[in-house]
């Protein structure tokens, strides 16, 4: 072999020389560091719109004729996937640039109780968690949220919540969902979490009586703690107008940098950077007989709380700038 022959395919300028192909651009959790190439127009390009129009009309017809299925909690999977999720996904991906870590800790089938920290004045973190689960979980699971009864008191809101898969936070419902193999999402801090001042951010509030733990113990469902960073900065609460809140019958009346003095504009969340970390599941199948033991329940609730608090600190170190990229 001559030297020329040897070096032929290594030298630039040679006819057969090719630059090594770069690795394909990978999406990193909603971030798009490299602008994606537009999808090549398909061969049947004009048909895409025909298809969309036909699909849209078929969807409308199904909705108007009542030809859809709803489960016993009022969950409407078709409406959720076709309407709610795409809208929320815009917030999730483009506004909050959400990154999801540790999705492999969420069981791929069977029941599970996802327990998170609650913050952000209105419960956007719960909604983003459902989107994250649908978007990132390999089985695209639906997360069934447990909501405060205040949500179900409000007309319209109650029906939206039910259609999106939520139900009232009470043990019978939680146990029923978990025994039927659903993923249940719960925020034990409740209004104490979302109504706290900005100065208290990322400090977990009291976890109530740990009712969520006894529900998980009774059904032997694993508990998956999840830490959500980013929701605190969406509507930072500077003050809480308690008398006004009492007058309106709500748990708190927030004053944020934009609300209420900017009016409806104050409802736009600040574009903070979100990180969602799922922690390793805590098995409970071996503790079923301790569901009524207050000490076991309390200790387990405390363990979940500590895990979430520690993970929050880790995540905050990963995210030095709340409004960074």
């Amino acid at each position: 072999m001559s030297q020329d022959e040897y070096r032929r395919d290594l030298l630039p300028g040679h006819a057969d020389f090719q630059l090594p192909t770069p690795a394909p651009a990978q999406r990193v959790n909603g971030n798009r560091p490299i602008p994606e190439k537009p999808v090549e127009p398909a061969v049947a390009a004009p048909d895409v719109w025909d298809q969309r129009v036909a699909d849209g009309l078929a969807f409308l017809r199904r909705r108007l004729s009542g030809a859809y299925e709803v489960d016993e909690f009022g969950f409407d999977p078709e409406l959720t996937d076709a309407v709610f999720q795409p809208i929320l996904k815009l917030l999730y991906r483009d506004w909050f640039r959400t990154e999801v870590l540790g999705i492999e800790n969420v069981p791929s089938d069977g029941g599970g109780l996802v327990v998170g920290n609650h913050s952000g004045t209105i419960a956007l973190d719960a909604l983003m968690l459902t989107v994250a689960m649908r978007d990132k979980h390999p089985k695209q699971r639906h997360l069934r949220l447990l909501g405060a009864d205040l949500v179900f008191r409000m007309p319209l809101m109650s029906e939206l919540a039910r259609a999106a898969g939520a139900t009232v936070a009470c043990n019978p419902d939680a146990e029923r969902l978990m025994t039927s193999g659903q993923l249940v999402g719960v925020f034990p801090e409740g209004f104490k979490g979302i109504g706290k001042r900005f100065s208290e951010r990322y400090k977990l509030q009291r976890f109530g009586r740990g009712g969520f733990v006894s529900a998980a113990l009774r059904t032997g469902t694993p508990i998956v703690p999840v830490a959500i960073v980013g929701a605190e900065e969406t509507y930072p609460i500077l003050a809480d107008l308690k008398p006004l809140a009492r007058l309106l019958g709500v748990p708190y009346f927030p004053v944020t940098p934009t609300f209420p003095h900017l009016g409806p504009l104050g409802l736009v969340p600040l574009p903070s950077k979100w990180l969602i970390q799922f922690c390793p599941p805590i098995p409970t199948a071996h503790l079923t007989e301790f569901a009524d033991d207050p000490l076991v329940v309390y200790n387990l609730a405390d363990q979940v709380r500590e895990t979430i608090q520690a993970t929050l600190h880790e995540l905050l170190e990963k995210r030095p700038d709340a409004f960074g990229p």
Partner: protein, 378 residues
């Protein structure tokens, strides 16, 4: 425990549809010697044909005491429970008299009957009340969280209270309490079927209740079995599955008219005073909160699965086509017309290659069956 069917059965409330049907079914059962129907009112002419094999005693609840003891009844089926006040028969006062005082007296009579082995009481899922903190699905052990507003629901709580007292005092009698979801079928007429049969259906703005129905025939089967077999306890009776109120209205091809809850209450009260239509607080509570029950205990104990809610409602729809405006067939036809229109406009705009207009017919294809079915009918 399997015991022989009772020889003498007393059925109360035979002047009403369910009572008459149950009495007729029991009378047709060869294992039962004697079926006696008790009712203070004469049954309407339409039900008389059903009651041929039934001995009828026209007696109010007080006189019933003697009847039950004299007849040496082995089973009492208490169906004289009214869900809606009947203006012709004394309105709400008479309804309460019949539901609460009537039950009290029937149970007192039953308690005094030495040969009694079985008691079957018709109750309703209204027993769970209506509260925003309620679980989504009621099991038989769920306690109501608040005293309900509706008169019928309050009567039901009273009735079940009397049955609890009866069970304590006569623990050897197999007492069955059946909590029925609203009954529906192609022929039965209740306030709820009249409601869904209207061309425009008023609903509560911002609320979409989860509803369950039970088919009348399945309800009768359960009642019959609880008389001839032994099933002590309390059972939810409903069809599996859930229909949302708006969904049910749409499936029935009706137009819903959402009104604020206060307006609906006021309107209903006005109409009630005029004696026109009977939408009470019971119905409004149902439409605000919805009501779904767990029927696994019923299915396990009776080894019988009622028709699903959707199937029962479908039968109702088929019998009430008149009055529907937005039917599935018409929607499918409209969809097809729009798609055809788009295709025609596009074909006219660009004399494109032949392949363009073709694929549009593929998604539309599955609707054309519906269109054909619609045109066949007309």
């Amino acid at each position: 425990m399997v015991t022989s069917p009772p020889r003498v059965v007393v059925v109360t409330g035979v002047s009403r549809y369910i009572g008459a049907r149950v009495a007729a079914r029991l009378a047709a059962d060869p294992r039962i010697d004697r079926v006696v129907g008790l009712d203070p009112h004469d049954p309407p002419a339409g039900l008389l044909g059903l009651l041929e094999g039934v001995e009828r005693i026209r007696a109010d609840a007080r006189a019933a005491t003697e009847a039950i003891a004299e007849l040496d009844a082995e089973a009492v089926v208490h169906l004289a429970v009214t869900s809606v006040p009947d203006v012709q028969h004394g309105g709400r006062a008479a309804m309460k008299e019949q539901n609460v005082i009537g039950t009290m007296q029937v149970l007192a009579a039953a308690q005094g009957a030495p040969g009694l082995r079985k008691l079957v009481v018709r109750s309703s899922t209204a027993a769970y009340g209506a509260s925003f903190r309620d679980p989504a699905v009621f099991t038989e052990d769920t306690e109501p969280r608040a005293v309900p507003r509706g008169p019928f629901a309050r009567d039901i709580l009273d009735i079940e209270g009397y049955v609890r007292g009866f069970r304590r005092r006569r623990s050897e009698v197999a007492a069955t309490v059946l909590r029925f979801a609203p009954m529906i079928s192609s022929t039965a007429e209740t306030s709820l079927t009249r409601y869904f049969a209207q061309p425009v259906v008023p609903t509560v703005l911002g609320r979409d209740a989860r509803l369950q129905f039970v088919h009348v025939e399945d309800a009768l089967e359960i009642l019959h079995r609880s008389v001839v077999e032994d099933h002590p306890g309390t059972f939810n009776v409903a069809g599996a599955g859930v229909l949302m109120l708006a969904q049910a209205v749409r499936r029935a091809g009706r137009v819903s008219l959402p009104l604020p809850e206060s307006a609906l209450s006021t309107g209903a009260a006005l109409l009630r005073n005029l004696g026109v239509e009977q939408i009470g607080l019971d119905q409004i509570d149902l439409f605000v909160h919805g009501r779904v029950v767990d029927t696994s205990r019923l299915i396990r104990e009776f080894d019988f699965t009622p028709r699903t809610t959707a199937e029962a409602f479908d039968e109702f729809i088929k019998a009430h086509v008149a009055g529907s405006t937005i039917t599935a067939d018409r929607l499918a036809a409209a969809e097809q017309a729009i798609l055809d229109g788009i295709r025609r406009v596009r074909a006219a705009a660009s004399p494109a290659p032949a392949g363009v207009a073709e694929p549009a017919s593929v998604p539309a294809g599955h609707t054309s069956a519906g269109v054909r079915a619609g045109s066949d009918r007309s």
